[in-house]
Symmetry: C2
């Protein structure tokens, strides 16, 4: 059976970037002669306003069905809050891949000096369905003063599968893995991560393994991003570190992501959020979404050569076309739609 | 009574940078005719090796006594782990101030393009005695699989005093405060922060207040550091964000910090760690420690004009002298001691 792709635009700039992402996907599938079943569904605020549910029951049913198929996928736009957390958790989309490689044409967009960008090619492998995000919550009052807690929590098997995922990607890339933790302040949780890494690395003798404190890593990603290959970490640190790599590229609008489950079901979404300040103005950058489509071609469609061609088309398009976030002082800017059309043309 | 200053070198590069910091402090106090009682004590690994205690009892007694005085202070070097966590907590050093302002002479050291550094002058106000760092810890096994948890936790009064501290500093500076949180994923804890901010801001009508998600903030600090004045946040996010500002300056070795308790007792330490790789080589940058001495002159000695003079001396010294971390390609480098001497000369 051909892949089933559910398109979930969400809100904010989500619908705008997803429209372009879908058009690019359909264009590539058409050229490649690859079949797929594509349908679109409202989730997030628009769904809530219409149905009272952030993830309406019929959409959940469609997702459940797609998740049960061998090659189901979601192309996600953006939501400020739910249902993204629920989707990640419900479909066990534990492995969040966030690659960052600056396009030479866009070096000038980065806040970093160009020489610091030479050779930058980082893949953040972020655990996505555990950590403090899904930890136990408590609130109360004590002598009239409120308090609140939420637990950072990991189970060994949750850690093991993401560490393996990181090691596997490192082996297939430049064979360098950095595990990011905070074992000096959160010793049990990250002691578990370090123990699991020590156990698993034996199976990947060619991968050079190191570890870093999250704070040190945050600094080094800005100072020396080219020193890193695969970075594997928990949900919270992965969230912050991937925004730093987005900043190193110069715009979060450039960053794609793939979230994979053990069964192969996958959700593809740009790392950037809903950007309510520019929603509806045509200023949103669709390249994070187009990059996510590239990841979908690779992981869900098993079409790496078409993924490579799409990446090449993007590299060509940005030579001429720029949304405002990646435009230099003298550059003419284009709209979200024009950027998508330029990629299809290329 | 004159201030009592306990000098705690610690380990790694701690002893080297603290020796210089102490010499600079004594030089300034001598010039200024300011009296002080200064004594030095081993803590951390050297203490542990000799006494079996990271914070030996006699040192704790000396600290307790200094903390009970109206103007007690600690000049701290670095330790990889304890006793820094214990010191912060025991003496309720809740307000950690981490200022970052790039020296024009050092713009070339930053990984950022020079134009992004124009006007950068950020003060991170980090809560230092609560958060996940001091949260409840649990470990166990479940069907043979280990698990571990540590709770992110805040009490209303802990939040209130640090939010007030941030607002106060903002009012005395450029009147712009950014509260950093992650209320979309950790809603109760950071909902409490946002509630307290909403209550407290009324007392500071001239301060322009905004809030940011921690991930967004990490990105914006790299892209647009000049857009921020005072950033107030919890212990964990403050840890990561201050390393990002260190990276923006170009070296963590440049960053000073002050940790203040409600009674005025204060601990001054460079933000950089023990840097075991360069310990003993004379390559360590003492400017983070010298900057911490500057903060001590300001907060503990109440000598802002001498603090300003010290800052001016640093700005002069770096025009000619550079430790390796801040040396450009053609620059001759100097040692930790030489940098200290240059600051005293200036
Ligand atoms: C929307 C938010 C909960 C989310 C997260 O923190 O995971 C976002 O920042 C992301 O990185 O996908
Ligand atoms: C040594 C470590 C526990 C400490 C922290 O995380 O607070 C350090 O990184 C710092 O920022 O002072």
């Amino acid at each position: 059976t051909p892949p089933t792709v559910l398109v979930l635009p969400g809100e904010g700039i989500g619908p705008e970037v997803v429209r372009v992402g879908r058009a690019v996907l359909e264009h590539v599938l058409d050229r490649a002669g690859l079949p797929a079943t594509i349908s679109e569904h409202a989730v997030g605020r628009p769904a809530y306003e219409r149905t009272g549910q952030w993830l309406p029951d019929p959409v959940r049913d469609a997702l459940d069905q797609a998740a049960a198929e061998p090659r189901g996928a979601v192309l996600f736009g953006a939501t400020a809050d739910e249902p993204i957390g629920e989707l990640r958790s419900r479909y066990d989309l534990y492995a969040n891949l966030r690659p960052a490689r600056p396009l030479p044409a866009l070096h000038a967009v980065s806040p970093l000096r160009p020489e610091r960008l030479e050779g930058v090619d980082v893949l953040i492998v972020r655990e996505l369905v555990s950590d403090v995000y899904y930890g136990r919550r408590r609130t109360g009052t004590d002598a009239g003063r409120r308090w609140a807690g939420q637990e950072m929590y990991y189970r060994e098997d949750e850690v093991r599968r993401i560490v393996r995922c990181g090691l596997g990607h490192a082996e297939a890339r430049r064979r360098h893995l950095t595990l990011v933790h905070k074992a000096n302040a959160i010793p049990d949780v990250f002691g578990l991560w370090l123990d699991v890494l020590a156990e698993e690395r034996a199976a990947y003798p060619h991968v050079d393994v190191q570890d870093r404190y999250a704070d040190t890593m945050a600094m080094e990603l800005v100072l020396r991003p080219a020193d890193f290959d695969v970075i594997v970490t928990g949900n919270l640190f992965g969230d912050l570190l991937s925004e730093i790599t987005g900043a190193v590229l110069g715009s979060l609008g450039l960053m794609p992501s793939a979230s994979l489950s053990p069964t192969g079901f996958a959700l593809y979404e740009p790392v950037g959020g809903t950007a309510p300040d520019i929603a509806g103005t045509g200023r949103a950058n669709p390249l994070g979404t187009i990059g996510s489509v590239e990841l979908m071609l690779r992981h869900t469609f098993g079409a790496p050569r078409w993924a490579d061609r799409l990446a090449a088309a993007v590299a060509l398009a940005v030579g001429l076309w720029r949304t405002p976030d990646i435009a230099g002082p003298g550059d003419k800017t284009c709209t979200t739609e024009e950027m998508g059309a330029a990629v299809c043309d290329a």
